[in-house]
Every structure is written in C-alpha cells, then in structure tokens.
Homo-oligomer: 349 residues x 4
C-alpha cells in the first residue's frame, strides 16, 4: 500500500526481483492517494510491463466505491503487507491488517517509539492505537534480528536514525564512547527523503545550488537514536541538512573516546559487530564512504578515524534513504520475519 | 507589482542599481499574491536592507483592506509601473494604470499578440481589454526601438521568443533564409522559466538528472516568433525542453540558406544588425555561446555555422530568461521609453 | 578489456547479472590503462565482493611484465571479448583476438564505418587494419539482427547514432520522410558520454548550471546515421549539446513528411518496426519520453508528433548512453551472436 | 596576479566595480600560468569589453620574454598587488613586490600561519621567506581591523577558517564555550574551493549526485581556526566535505555552553560582536542561513540555537568561498589598508 510514493516505488522494484514473493499492489481509496510521480509517469517499458503482468493480480471487477485495500482486507488474509503510507493512514490500516491475520511492515513513523507519551511528545499528536506500540518490533535487523522472526508488526526505522544507529550503537554498547561528553550527529539527506508532495522547499529552484539546515534536535528520528543507542538526550546534538541530490544520506558523527578505550577499540567494535553482516561495510581507518557508492543499494557503509592526542573520533555513515533507509530495509525485515535468507531480493544484480 | 516572483525579484535587483529610478514595491491584495520564495526567505543582509531603506517608501498607515497597488492607483500618478504578474492580473491592472496616466511595462503574455483572435487562439481565453492590443508596443528594442519612445504600454516579450527572434529576424529580413524550406527552433529553458508556483513537474526530484520536451508548436511564444520574423506557421517547427538548471535559455535553430545567399551573408547579416547593439554579441563563425556566459546578464549571444555543401545553417542563441528574457529587457524598454541611455542599470558592474 | 571506463564499468555490472556468462576482467599493460574512477574507488560492498569472487578468475601468478590481456591471448581462446577501449587500443587488440579465435564486440569507433577512406575522413587518422572493416558487422540488432549470428567482429554503435537511427531508420525506409527537405537532429548528451579522462570541459564547475553545443556536422557519430538511414549528407543537420547530467541521451529530430505520406503513417511505421522489439518503446502521438525514464535501462523510447497543416513532424528518442548507447547494446549484440534470448541479462530486475 | 583562477576572476569582477582603483591585470611568465577557464572562455560581451578597456592599461610593447609581472616589478611601484596565486608563486612574488614598495594582499596560504615551524607542520614544506611571517597581518577585518591600516603584507584567510572563526571567535572570547569539552566544526564546501585544475575528484561525473568527506583534522585551514579562536587542538574536531554545488561554504559547529553562561549569552555575544559589521548578519535564534542567500555576496551569515536542558549549542555559518571566503574579503582588507570605507566595491548593486 502506498506504491506511488518514493519509498513505495522503490519497494515495488525490490519486490519484483524477489524470488519468494508474489506482490500485489493495493490502492487506497482515491481521496487518500498521493499524486503520481511526474518523473515516472511515462509509459513503462515493455520489459517492465511484462514483469508487472507476471506479478500483478487482475483488478477485481468490484463496485468502484471499494478500493483494492478494502478488497484485500475482506478476502483471504495476505501473508504480509508493506505500508509505505503517511502516519495517519498507517495508524488506520495497521490494526485492520493485523486483525485480519496479515503481518505488517510499516515504513512510516507510526510505530517506531515505544510509548504513547513519547509518540505524542515527538509527533505532536495522540496515538490512535497505542496498544500496538508494545507489539511492534523496531526493524533494524543488525541490532534486533532475534525479535523479527516472531514479529507481527514491524516498524521500519527512519533513514537518518538507521545511518546513526548502525554507526553509534555498537560503539556505545562496547563502551568506546565517553559517557560524559557530547555526541554530535551532523546528518545530510537527499531530497527524496522529504517525500513526493510538491512544496516550495523542495522545488528545483529552491534546492539546486543550495544547502541548508532544516531541522535539529526536534527531528522525529532523534528519539530512535536515543532509544537504540541508550544515549541521554542532554548530551546529544543532531542536525539534518538538505543536500542538492535526489537520494542518499550521509551522517558524520563526532565524540570523545572513553578513558578506558584504546585507539584501536573503535575499529575493533565496528569490525566485530559487522563481520557477518552482508549489508554493513566497515572501511579501514581513515577511509570514508561517499554517497555515490551506496545509492541504489541496501548497503550501509561506515568510515572512521581516531584523532590523537585527544581521544577524539569521527565516524561517517552512508546509505541510500530509499534503500537501507526505507524499502531495502523493509524487504530485509520481511526476509527475517519469514525465515528467508536476509539478502533475498537485495543483491545488486 | 509582482516583486515576489522570479522575474519580479530580478527586476528589483536591476532597479536597485539603476541611477535614474526611485523604485516603489507595490503589493497586490493578499488573496492575489504568489507565495514568497523559500530560497530567499531568509533575512536580507544589512547591506541590502540599507539599500532597500534608501529606495522603499514607508508603508502607508492605511486601512488594511487596501493594498499598496490600490494606494498607488489613487494617489498622484507614477511615471511607470512594471507588471511582473500573471496574465489575469496584468489584464486587470494595465488599463487602470494607463487611465491613471502611468506608463506600463507588462512582463506577462497579456499584450504580446496584436489581435484578440490571436490571443484567444494561443492563450485559450478571451481578452478582457483587447482595445489595448493595438496600443501595446512589442518591447524588443533591437527590432522595435523607434516605437518605444512614445509607447504608453509595452509588452515585454517571451524569453524563448526573444532568443529566437534576435537570431532569426535579421536573417529573415536580409533574405538569408530559404523561403520554402523548414525552419527549426529547438529551445531549452531553465526551470525558473516555469515560475515559482510549486508543482510536481518542477520539483527537484523531477528535474534533476532529467531532461524532457514539455511543449511544441502550441507554445505561447511561437506566435511572437512568427510575427516578428514574418514566418509562415506551416514551415516552422519549434520545441521547448526543460534543462536541469535554474536559469538560462539556449535555442538552436536550423534552416536552409536562400539560393541567392552566399555563405558569408549569414555572418554579415548578424554583424550588420548588431554592430551597434550593446546587448547582442555575435560570435565568429563556428563558435557558440554557452549558458554560463549569459546568466546574470542582459546579453543575448549568437553563434552560427554555415555547412557546405548543402547551404544549411545552424544558429545558437543564448540569454538569461530572467535577464534579457524578462527583467533586463523590461529595464531596457523602460530606458528607451524615457529617453535614457539603454544600458542604464544593465551593465554587469 | 577496459573495465575501468564508464562503459566498461556498466558492462561489468550487466555481465554480473547475466546467467550465461562467466566474465573475466582483463587488464591492459599498465602504461595503457586509464585512471580508475574516483567515484567508485571506495571498497566494494561485501555483496559485490562475493559476487565478484564468484566470477573473477584468480589473478595468475605471472611475471609482472605480462598483463592479463596478454595471458588471455596466449591461453586457450575465449569465446568472446568486449573491448571497451579507446580506438587506438581496439585497433591493436581486435585483430589479435580474432586471430586467436575469439569473437570481438568492440565499443569504440574503430570498426563502425565501412571503408578506410570514410574512417580517415571522419576520424582524421589512417586505419591500421582496414581489411576488418568489411568483416565487422554494425551492431544495431533492431536493424541488423540477421547478420549478427555469424559475426566474428561486431562494431557497437555510437550512442547518439543509436538514438537517431532507431528513430529515423524505419521512417526513412517506409518513405515517410520527404526526400528533398532538411532533416535535423538536435542531440543532447550527458557528461559520461565524454569518457572518464579529466578535462576542463567536463569539470563540475564547467558543466553545472551550464549547457552548450560542443559539436555539429563533424561529429563522428554522423556518418553512422547517414549510413544506416541512407541520408544524403547535404540535407542533414546535426548538433551535439552537453547536458548537466551524468548519463542519458535525448535527441529531437525534425523533418517534413513525404508528399505521399498520410499523417498516421509515421506512427504506423514506428509501431510496425518495433512491435516485437523488447528494447524499443513507441509512445502514443503527442507523448514524449524523458531522460529519467531510460537511465539505467537498455531501453530506447520514442515519442513523436505530426504537426498539421504543413506536414511537419518531430520525433524524440531517449536512451541511456551507457545502456542502449553502449554496454547494454553490447550485451544485446553478444546475445544475438551466441543465439541467446536477446533480453538475457538486460531486464531491469 | 593570478586573474585566471576562480578567486582571481572574482577579484577582477569586484575591482571593476570599485570606484577607487584602477586595476591592472598582471600575467605570470607563460610556464607558470594556470589554464584558462573553459566556462568563461567565450568572447566577453561588448559591455564587459568596454568596461575592461576603461580599466586595463595598454599592454606594453615589451620584449615577449618579459611577463607583465616583471614589468610591474621593474617600473614605478604599484600601490598594492593582489596575489591570487598558488603558494609557491606567492612565496616568490611577495618578497619582491614588498621590496619594490608595493603592499601585498596574498590570497594563498603562504603567510597565514605565524611561524616557520607551524607552516612546515601543516603545509609539509619549508618556508622560503619565513621572516615575512611576522610581518604578515592575518586579514580578517572583523577581528583584526586595527592592524590592517599599517599592514604591508596581508594574508587573506582560508574560506573554511573564515566561516568558523566568524562564528566561534566572539563566543570563545566571551567565554560562552565550555573550556573542557569538544568543539566540532562540520564544514561543507562547494567545488570551486578546490581550484580550477582538472582532476578526477572534481569532474562532473564524480561530484554530481554525490557527497563525501575529503579531509579532517589535517586540513590546512585548521591551524587558522585554532590560532584565531585560541582553541586547543586536542578538543577540536573538524571535517571538510564536498557539496555538489559550484560555490559556497556552510559550516555547522557544535559545543557545550560554559557553566557560567546563560542561554541568552550566545546570541548576545554574536549580536555585540557584529552589530556594526556590514558583512556579518546574525539571525535570530532558531533561524539558519542557507548557501543561496550568501552566494555572490561578501556576507557571512550566522544562525544559532541553544538546546536546553543540556547547555548544548549549534551555530551555522554560511559564506561564499569566492566572496567573503576569498576575493571579497581581499577587497575588504584592501579597503581597510588604504583607509577607504570597508564596503567600497562590495555592495551587491
């Protein structure tokens, strides 16, 4: 559901090359749909049409008043549904699909925080089905894999939060980061992270040849970082800045090493955490990934440097906001939920 | 009026460096205003504020229901008004300013065509003050200078039309272009040509890394080319294509040389036409101007090549759609109307 | 050979997802190598490394003086070699691989023209193995498929030529284009078409926010168009212009319809030619493909419009210069040469 | 000298609109010249030619072996010379011009550090005229104005250092920044900061759609920040990242407030420091400048936010690397050296 948005389109592309799924594109009732993409509004190629025919169910000859989402909810239960929808729609649809026996992977922010109070504080609105917040599993497989197999509802993480958490979480848990001093995350995001709605702030003339800070500690991805890394809000500083690129997230993080940590501990902590992870690449010290090397992939790539004397460190984390930051991670979560190899449908070729 | 749009902003910048004017920014009634630019929405610099204070009248302590346009129409007549407004607003305001004794330079398409029938055919709507179409002077000073001194209403040309007309008009009138064969104009435009309104087609994600044809023979600038160059519609082909750049127009034109023309006649016709023109630069044969060399200027630059054997030719015309294609040309027209040196306020420094 | 250039990198990506090949990356002797890409110079992801391990032969423990190209030439013959190399190197390597019994797909301009005289005229240098010009098959499968099965040497076409030929060739052969009047091709190309060598003209600061005509009738792709479409040079006009995008070609073509042709004949000719072609999409009249819809694919997409009265037409052709304009087409040729389904390895998922 | 580089071109543009100077373009001997810009290589417009004629001295009819720099050194002393040259050339020319009685504004890094040891440590080479390091005045007028009037040699600051120093220096000197904790500067720079030489890292295909960290604590602008702000190296973390834009620098800084500081002290310290400065704009708390608002100006714009509880702060500083970061600042320094109003030639209109 929500296959017309940027994350939804990417998800459709991932699922089309996934061997173990027969995807079905569900439409919202017309008044809740987002506008189609003008960029991709052209007729699809024959090859794509052919591929789509292979996967798409014939549209039911139903009364026009009923959307295909409604059809799906009333028919035999689907195995899983991906909600690439705004929060308000996810809040409506998730409980209904769960009741119908369908497992849900939600790409919105609706189920990422663990309490109704936290949701209200960060999202500025009450949560209409807060009982599900305890049911939901935070879908960051590298950190939370063991809980995914049994999950009925998975909250797919925010893209900036994923970039920060994959970098900071193993360091924090290994005790590499000094517990008293400032931890800084300077995140830069491509424009597709802002969604497809037309707004002055994301017009070509506003974004090209430009760069700006658009959010700081009030950004909704911040609590996901505080939660996963068990960081106190008082010692964390974050900003989100808009890059003049279509896709990609690169976050640069800065902190002091713990007094008990040796210089090599940082690299060791990352290497240990990700030695067996197919989607996280750790660069050697002093080398840093760039955006172009992660775009159109499900990889998160980490670079780091310890600066001595002074026990300071910086870590760079890069990923595709529509890949590992959204649709790719959603498919990875799906694979973990259904006992499939986690790389299914996610390899570059 | 209309100082918040792209052309309007540029016009304000030009007028601020113009020695002979004391510009006054007039606001439309609130419900007719366009949204402010997010890009420039930041606080202006001290230097700019200082400059603006020098020029801007203090806002009148009037009843809030009256806009400053209304104030201006009711007070002592202004010498001139620039309308950088949509057609609908220009159609309303032009007659009122003219009645008040104010000369009008209109940057919209409202008064560019010479008959009500032509306006209806190309703009798809009736003209509410068609008696002004004969009053209006088409404001292309290099072609039409002698009529500007007495003009009360000047129709500032379309940006693509200006690029094409400055290239083709002297060639057509010198008999260089074969009268039977096809004349092609392949025009490429930057995104600011589409105005400031937020639309999916001009979002960053739609435009970046992309290029597309968005209009062909139905483009509203076509009749301006047919009129100025006295070309028959049946032998002209035009397309407008969207470049992933903020500003600038580059048009490439192709045609057959007239049988009576010699190879050197094309260069001679351009050189003759523009020897004394400060804002048109003719490149030597085989050299072509690029967009970057005209952006942020009031220049139109022309390159050309005659290909032999075969008597074919191509001409490239480049200008800034907000400079010579809109605001710069409007100031040039203003200078011509008021007997000032035409370069006043338009030189790069 | 030549896997470090833009087309070579793309070719490696295509071959990695091709089920029927076991690709081997051959290195030139060090002094003939081009510089590696800084963009992709970062460590490849684990998934990619894994995939590469599966395909790449272990580097032979040979004396350092011998490159892997030399090894390959001396060992048991390979089935086929792709040369993504500059003309000079292709001229050296093609005869040697052919002598060794290896079929050659050459992506350079070395074998695209049919005579030594034509090569000299357009490339400004003599051809060192002109006897191969008659052996070489021009690798445009949609036009030349029947000759590919037996081809030992395939000349992969130029990207701009492919865009023009797929549009014009069926129209020309169906008699839709007037035989006397001008045919114009205004081609726009992304920067990767200029290759990976560092030059001022392709630096970021030169290209961004810019657009320029860089070549006209002397462009080396012009004779390929004249040959395939059987157009006389005297009635053809061409220009190549540089778009500020990384990849993609869009060509707009303009011409008169033949007196004997009816308005619908143009669409019919395209539809007939490409009904069964998986990699050419014909849009309905009045719709036009954009760059974004073809980038990262092997599709060529065609839009068209007939303008009446006047019997004029414009056709737009869009493709990815590294896909259908180079590497994708090379793989399509390979498939045709070896009797494989032509879409093998070329579908988007 | 050095008018062909990006900073040099900008300097020429600034000096052409400066009322109090008669600039003279001096050429290096041919073998030391940098390549001309392809972007601007087209013929200048008539208006520019005219303006240049007005300012440029006629080229002396000298023997071709002597460059105009040599002529200038041997003739009557010029009042001042701007060196927009690489370090090696500045090291050669600065002593010679000083000996000839000409005051020097050097835009390179040759004279920015105060000791030969520091120069060697950061630039990796010995200093050939280290006696001048004590003579040179660091040309940041807002901090160092009183020393400029008598300066014979001015070292124009690095662009990233200027962005950081204008933000941090008043805060550090007002005791707003905690003296123990980490100070972070995450700087983003446009591509023109890397100079005009063709390199793979600054090619269009490398930079577009990309973003990367290219330098950290070893960046040559770091010691300028440590010096001006009297920061200990051990508590400072810096990175420089490459934005896909032509020009502009935006640096985001993060730190803890001093225990003795109140929340409002940060804003007060900036407001106090810059109340009378025409080229530094302080935004209200929570508002941040973007790149587009400073490009093509000599402004530095500062935004800030104090995050409570936790006494943390972030400050954003934006400027044009070719304006306040190079040529504009050089003109500002020149004005201060010669007792002119500092804004002469630097206002936007």
């Amino acid at each position: 559901v929500g296959h017309g948005g940027y994350a939804g389109e990417e998800l459709v592309a991932y699922l089309q090359r996934h061997d173990a799924v027969a995807p079905l594109l569900l439409d919202l009732p017309r008044h809740e749909r987002r506008p189609a993409s003008p960029r991709d509004g052209s007729a699809p190629s024959k090859a794509i049409l052919q591929a789509r025919q292979a996967i798409a169910q014939p549209p039911p000859a139903a009364a026009p008043a009923r959307s295909s989402v409604e059809e799906a909810l009333e028919g035999p239960p689907l195995d899983a549904v991906f909600l690439a929808t705004p929060i308000g729609i996810s809040l409506k649809l998730a409980p209904r699909f769960l009741s119908a026996g369908t497992r849900v992977i939600d790409l919105s922010g609706a189920f990422r925080l663990s309490t109704a109070a936290a949701f209200e504080a960060w999202y500025g609105t009450t949560h209409s089905c807060s009982e599900l917040l305890q049911v939901a599993v935070y879908g960051l497989p590298e950190i939370n894999r063991q809980r995914l197999a049994a999950a009925r509802l998975v909250a797919n993480p925010g893209c900036l939060a994923t970039a920060a958490n994959l970098a900071l979480s193993p360091l924090q848990h290994a005790g590499v980061i000094d517990a008293q001093s400032l931890v800084v995350c300077d995140a830069k995001s491509g424009v597709s992270g802002a969604g497809k709605e037309s707004r002055a702030a994301t017009s070509f003339c506003s974004v090209t040849d430009n760069f700006s800070l658009y959010s700081s500690m009030a950004h909704r991805h911040v609590p996901e970082i505080l939660d996963v890394c068990r960081l106190e809000q008082e010692r964390f500083l974050f900003s989100a800045q808009l890059l003049p690129v279509r896709r990609g997230v690169l976050a640069t993080m800065y902190f002091q090493l713990d007094r008990g940590a040796e210089t090599g501990d940082l690299e060791a902590a990352l290497a240990d955490a990700y030695a067996a992870e197919p989607f996280v690449d750790v660069y050697p010290s002093g080398s840093f990934p760039n955006l172009a090397s992660v775009v159109h992939t499900n990889q998160c790539r980490l670079g780091h440097e310890v600066v001595e004397p002074g026990r300071r460190a910086l870590v760079v984390s890069a990923l595709d906001n529509l890949g590992k930051g959204a649709a790719g991670q959603a498919v990875q979560n799906f694979n973990a939920m259904f006992g499939l190899a986690e790389t299914t449908g996610l390899l570059p070729s």
